[in-house]
């Protein structure tokens, strides 16, 4: 009798506990749902605007599935400035990735192996671009290079070093995390004692072991460059984001479909990067 009573009370208290927990999840679930709506809605409305040619006034349940087409995008492809600006942005992205890696991998390894006491200084220098945001950086570039090195500003590729600087806080942290995740000194010692030269050690031992963080920083750099607007606008360079913006001014629907094209393109890059580095990246957590 006593045992059955205590059992029944314990189950009823367990049930109320469960109910309370479910009620306790109500708040968090509401937050998650609201967040999902807030973050997905702009993407949905952008897609609709780009690919459905129905004015908002006439949009309703009956016309929801009418007149969808990719025409705005294919028309944008035919614009004379589409391919040149896209090519320029892709070249800038490739150049920025190349210089970033060529500069940061040796520096990161060097600091790690030979000059650990410089680590604080290097880390400090790599967060400085946060202090000098793009709009201030480009003002400085205009102030300093316009009188002293006009040829530099005249070239489209003057954007490359500025983009390297802009992306530095992310890229250095990613490379540094990659170096920390492996035991560089042991790998170098092993490789060197087996008779490998320094370039061979770098190419066959260190780089393969850091591939996840290298790909991560390359991806980050590429997305930054493909969406960069501030510096290109102020220095009057005709990159792809600038073309998208100007095209939006002429043809709103086409401009939106180009923005969507950029978004899908960079997300595809991200998906590709996650597939390539799946598992490898798990050890290398990049902290913001």
């Amino acid at each position: 009798m006593a045992t059955s009573m205590s059992m029944s009370t314990s189950t009823s208290s367990g049930r109320s506990e469960k109910r309370r927990r479910r009620l306790g999840r109500l708040g968090p679930n509401l937050v998650l749902i609201t967040a999902a709506v807030f973050f997905i809605a702009p993407l949905v409305s952008m897609t609709r605007f780009a690919f459905q040619t129905i004015p908002m006034v006439k949009l309703g349940w009956s016309t929801l599935f009418d007149r969808w087409s990719l025409k705005s995008l294919t028309e944008a492809f035919k614009e004379p400035f589409f391919w040149p600006t896209l090519a320029l942005s892709l070249k800038l992205a490739a150049g920025t990735v190349f210089i970033t890696l060529a500069l940061l991998i040796p520096t990161g390894l060097y600091v790690h192996l030979r000059l650990p006491k410089a680590r604080g200084l290097v880390e400090f220098l790599t967060v400085l671009p946060y202090v000098v945001p793009p709009i201030a950086l480009v003002a400085g570039v205009a102030a300093f290079f316009r009188p002293n090195a006009r040829w530099f500003l005249n070239s489209n590729y003057s954007l490359v070093p500025l983009y390297v600087v802009m992306a530095l806080p992310f890229t250095y942290r990613s490379i540094d995390a990659g170096i920390r995740a492996i035991d560089v000194r042991t790998l170098v010692d092993a490789s060197r004692s087996l008779g490998a030269s320094w370039p061979a050690t770098l190419r066959r031992v260190l780089l393969p072991n850091m591939s996840a963080s290298i790909i991560a920083s390359a991806f980050l750099t590429a997305t930054v460059v493909l969406g960069e607007f501030t510096i290109a606008r102020t220095l009057a360079k005709n990159t792809f984001p600038i073309f998208s913006f100007d095209y939006f001014g002429r043809k709103a629907q086409g401009g939106i479909s180009l923005a969507l094209f950029t978004l899908v393109g960079t997300t595809a890059l991200l998906g590709f990067f996650t597939l390539v580095t799946r598992g490898k990246a798990r050890r290398q957590v990049t902290r913001f």
Binding site: P28, A41, M46, R48, A139, P161
Partner: protein
């Protein structure tokens, strides 16, 4: 002495005959030269260029007028920028922390947490024209969201406090990258809250409220404050998003750009004085953020 020898041994077992350590150490800084030279050319020289132009008058003398003119003549832009940065940072801190907490404590779909953190990584960097365009199609006067809200009886343009190209519009759009940035900042801190603390608080007779007031929030405080500073700096320096929403927005970054484009000769000190103020504000908030982050990390060791 001992460690120095063993280090050398480890470094060059098959290398050339070990040379004296001293000279090599003094040349060791040379290895940083490419990196330092690069930063000198493309970060420090431009920064110097900005500050010089802000302080040096046409007759090459030092002057404070540019710097003080920027504050007095562009007071409206400053206050507008400060207001939007503070409001969007506060809202970002609140909603970002709530979202991070909801994602960190959710048990059921296992992928939810990693989805939220992965999406935050993307959206925190999403600013710029793509984001502005997306919101124009959603909350512009002809936007889909505007239509849905109006049909639901709550028109955003009904009363005139909301305009996508105005103050509350900027805030809503900025939240799209502010909230995810806050999620990235607080998620590790929320993970650092140990279940045993809550149990300890409960077994000492504490309610949920006591737990949050006496344990949870004090532990999270450095992350929350640090996050606020980071978000503030982030909003203050945002140019592309604001410009794409409204090319004549009275915000400091947009003003800098319009002065730069309007004055090709680069004679006016105004854009450079505004940029100098921006660098100062960024330096102060980012510096405090980094200090606070060090404090916040104290509780995050596993």
């Amino acid at each position: 002495m001992n460690t120095a020898v063993s280090e050398q041994d480890g470094g060059r077992t098959t290398g050339a005959a070990p040379g004296p350590a001293r000279p090599r150490r003094s040349f060791a800084w040379l290895g940083l030269m490419p990196f330092l030279l690069f930063l000198f050319l493309f970060l420090l020289l431009p920064t110097y260029g900005v500050i010089r132009k802000a302080f040096i008058a046409k007759d090459h003398t030092f002057t404070w007028t540019g710097i003080s003119d920027a504050i007095t003549k562009e007071r409206a832009a400053f206050s507008q920028s400060l207001k939007v940065s503070i409001v969007s940072a506060l809202l970002g801190v609140v909603f970002g922390t709530l979202l991070a907490y909801a994602a960190a404590t959710a048990k059921r779909p296992k992928w939810l947490r990693s989805l939220v953190s992965a999406f935050s990584g993307v959206a925190a960097n999403m600013g710029g024209i793509v984001l502005a365009f997306a919101f124009i199609t959603l909350l512009g006067r002809q936007g889909m969201g505007t239509k849905i809200l109006t049909a639901a009886g709550w028109s955003p343009y009904g009363s005139d406090w909301f305009d996508l190209t105005g103050f509350w519009g900027w805030n809503v759009v900025y939240l799209y990258f502010q909230i995810p940035l806050m999620v990235l900042v607080t998620l590790p801190a929320i993970d650092g809250l140990k279940a045993s603390w809550r149990e300890a608080s409960a077994s000492l007779g504490g309610t949920a409220f006591t737990y949050w007031r006496r344990v949870g929030l004090p532990v999270l405080a450095p992350s929350l404050l640090g996050g606020f500073l980071l978000l503030f700096a982030n909003a203050y320096s945002a140019f592309a998003t604001a410009y794409a929403l409204n090319t004549t927005a009275n915000l400091v970054p947009v003003k800098i750009a319009s002065f730069l484009q309007g004055d090709i000769s680069g004679r006016s000190p105004m854009p450079f004085a505004l940029a100098t103020w921006m660098i100062l504000i960024m330096g102060a908030s980012m510096g405090s953020y980094l200090l606070l982050r060090k404090r916040a990390e104290r509780w995050q060791q596993a």
